[in-house]
Amino acid sequence: MKLIFEHSVDGRQCSILPTCDVELTPMPDIMKRTVPPRLPELSEIDVTRHYTALCKRAHGVNCGFYPLGSCTMKYNPRVDEEIAALPQFTGIHPLAPLYSVKGCLEVLELSKKYLCSITGMDDMTLQPAAGAHGEFTGLLLIKSYHVARGDFKRTKIIVPDSAHGTNPASAAMCGFSIVSVPSNDEGCVDLDALKSVLDYEVAGLMLTNPNTVGIFDKNILEITDLVHQFGGLVYYDGANLNAIMGVVRPGDMGFDVIHINLHKTFSTPHGGGGPGSGPVGCKEFLKGFLPSCAISNASTSLQVKSFYGNFLVIIKALSYIMTLGAQGVREASQNAVLNANYLMHCLKGTFTPAYNRTCMHEFVLGLDSFKEQTGVTALDVAKSLIDEGMHPPTMYFPLIVHEALMFEPTETESKETLDEAAEILKTLYRRAFDDAESMKTAPHCAAISRPDEVLAARQPVLKYDF
């Protein structure tokens, strides 16, 4: 398919602006741009057809099943888009006088209140723009807390080996050294291993519970207690919050700081990779370190981006919470867990779960022995799913499971969709024994066949060659 630049015709344009009604002030010669940017010259119909064609080569939740583990690809209610597009929200300047932004402030206050209630936290900032940004902010709270107490020796953050890559990366950005703790046979924190790395140099522990293999760590109270005994704080990675809303709260499990992914748990669209929103909640004693906005509050100590956060994303999450209410929030989590367990159950006798027990909102298959028997890899299965119109699960994560495929169906998929997905997976399982070759070359019906990623990295072509 052509690039948008290849549709460009010299002299073609859209008619958008009127002619200037004041005297032209020219750019001073010394400041003038000499060569204009080579942007495409198009009419509106060229623009809309090009992007419509791109749409046909993309897959969103609205196109079909999207069980991408750890990403919570649930349905994004259309009404939330409509509410976020109200001109009385989109047309408000972030530095308008306070009396004129009461509605915006109410959105922020209500969102904080509801999110604190769901997570068991005392206060919250809505400034971080995404989950990893929230991790960075939350760890800064931990760092600021220790520094404010004059405790400068706390230089280490403990991260389980099953953690998302963002956890160690965020800790490194906060100047911490990372101590990795191994998981036990159940994919949970190995208590003895944890005890062996705990000391008074530990600033904190980062944990997601349920963890990345989709299991709720039943030793959670002991874990948070142990870290506290050594004066460390405990950070909750909210990536998997969709499993436990209304059932148990991180704040009650001993967590001091938490981030939430509004674009996962609270159903705001992922937008092809953002904008998300990663609010950070904390317990009372950390409130004073929460970031704010320098231009409207000069005394702020921390700030992680401009203004107050991805406001329109926050509106969508708030509308979603208001729609569901106390019961609906719990219903969402319960059914996310039910759907995951049901899909895992339906696969019995074919692919083997990495941990054969009740899971939370997601589960991981380990295709190690399947690969030995058939030569077909987790990647081949994933690529074969594409031909079936289903988005593949997360592949090769978490790192502690070999040939991992991680499924997170979410609560917004019906029993029929799960049954159908199970049938597709079973068919592929059988095909691997009869016709492994066709799976190794899959997909066959997609926009492209498998791309050469090595070439892309070795000889990077990162823009159009005019």
Binding site: C14, L17, P77, T90, A130, G175, G273, G274, Q303, A457
Partner: protein, 438 residues
């Protein structure tokens, strides 16, 4: 109560039965009883879609929507063509995630590749990434790109947006790196102070163009000093100005970042916006965030993939160049649609009209008694005025549905975009005149 769970009650029972359990509670067998919630969460009851629309609209109506906005300071009210609002709402773009599965995501990947090309063109740089959170965090990420063992000190000009300054300070506090600020003289970066701060441990210098006061910095001169001292120059740019302004690349910038909001995003009480980042080919492997590259598929067809992933957190973990995962993809798409719709000529018009109208308003206001331009320097579409009766002037304007400039440092920082007509600017001048003569 609203619900998006499609399975009926009887289907849910069927599924529980298949699992050989009777209740949801049994699914949560690993949760310690002592912390399991006994009651419902402290949240209001759920509502129907219609009720939520009513309630949220009522909240929205508590805001005052000004028909004319003459305030910028990091959020710019440019005209957004209708098509730029509708295309990003297409569900395939809206409801997809990061294009990890290239075969199923060519549309998203190609749109990012096109966006990268447009940002490279606009800034004059070799390459761009797929976006970061906003202009302030882009500036902070750029500082991190430049550090090495020998050089770890960052210098930033105080003529930059206060939010960007504070964000860079926060990121440097986080990574235990030193940051020093360069003060201003006459509304611009004081180059003699910059020179005195350029020791051999300085890795990078950040300057905003046009700066927070709307004034053009002498980037050529700054680049010369910075490079002489062996450091790198990061320039934070207004993307609309770039349509008519000498590119930072031509001035010698090593990294160009900026707030992409003016490229088709509403001001929306501060977000979501768009951080763009572009740099030289030499710095390619230091660039944070997603990058899309062109390659071929197994059959030799052109294909697009996420590439150079060895920089990223999911591969490198604590050694990654940044922790960024989700970025602002849909905002980048919006910017690409904006740039495609406006074209180079349309963007030039938006830039020229913003600049011309700002100068018209400034000239007219400065004809009023005791109104003066604080800094006599060439500027783009923002300017700082010293004027009496600031509060009364702004209130009078607000009563007429006009949000005036931002009160800042005992003056007013005005901003005019192409959206505002001459008659409206004349009304602003007349209103100011009335207040000043009263």
């Amino acid at each position: 109560m609203g619900s998006y769970v499609p399975s009926t009650q009887s289907q849910r029972q069927e599924m529980l039965k298949a699992l050989d359990i009777n209740s949801y509670d049994e699914l949560y067998c690993d949760v310690p009883e002592s912390v399991k919630l006994k009651d419902l969460l402290d949240l209001p009851k759920g509502k129907s879609e219609l009720e939520v629309v009513r309630d949220m609209t009522a909240i929205a109506e508590k805001n005052v929507l000004f028909r004319t906005i003459l305030r910028g300071a990091g959020a710019y009210d440019h005209y957004i063509p209708a098509i730029v609002k509708s295309i990003p709402q297409k569900e395939e773009f809206l409801t997809a995630y990061t294009p990890y599965q290239a075969e199923m995501s060519q549309g998203i990947l190609q749109s990012i590749f096109e966006y990268q090309t447009m940002i490279a063109e606009l800034t004059g740089m070799d390459i761009a990434n797929a976006s970061v959170y906003d202009g302030a965090s882009a500036a902070a990420e750029a500082l991190a790109m430049c550090r090495d063992r020998k050089r770890s000190v960052s210098l930033i000009s105080l003529s930059s947006h206060p939010d960007a300054v504070k964000t860079m300070e926060t990121y440097c506090f986080a990574s235990n790196n030193q940051l020093k600020t360069i003060s201003c003289k006459g509304g611009r970066t004081d180059i003699s102070i910059l020179e005195s701060l350029l020791t051999d441990d300085v890795s990078a210098v950040y300057v905003q163009q046009p700066n927070f006061f709307g004034i053009f910095e002498d980037i050529d001169a700054i680049a010369q000093c910075v490079h002489k001292a062996g450091a790198m120059l990061i320039v934070g740019c207004n993307p609309i100005a770039l349509a008519i302004m000498k590119t930072p690349s031509q001035c010698g910038a090593d990294i160009v970042v900026g707030e992409g909001q003016p490229l088709g995003m509403p001001i929306a009480f501060g977000g979501p916006y768009l951080g763009f980042m572009a740099t030289t080919a030499k710095n390619m492997r230091k660039l944070p965030g997603r990058i899309v590259g062109q390659t071929v598929d197994h059959d030799g067809n052109t294909a697009y993939v996420l590439t150079l992933q060895a920089r990223e957190q999911h591969i490198r973990r604590e050694k990654a160049s940044s922790n960024i995962c989700s970025n602002q993809a849909l905002c980048a798409l919006t910017a690409a649609v904006y740039m495609s719709t406006m074209g180079a000529d349309g963007m030039k018009q938006a830039a020229e009209q913003s600049m011309s109208k700002a100068h018209y308003l400034q000239r007219e206001l400065c004809k009023l008694p005791n109104v003066e331009l604080r800094y006599e320097q060439p500027y783009f579409d923002e300017f700082l005025l010293d004027m009496p009766k600031i509060d009364q002037i702004l209130s009078s304007l607000e009563r007429k549905g006009i949000l005036g400039g931002l009160p800042f440092d005992d003056g007013v920082l005005w901003c005019v975009t192409e959206k505002v007509g001459k008659d409206m600017l004349d009304l602003v001048v007349a209103t100011c005149k009335e207040v000043l003569q009263a």
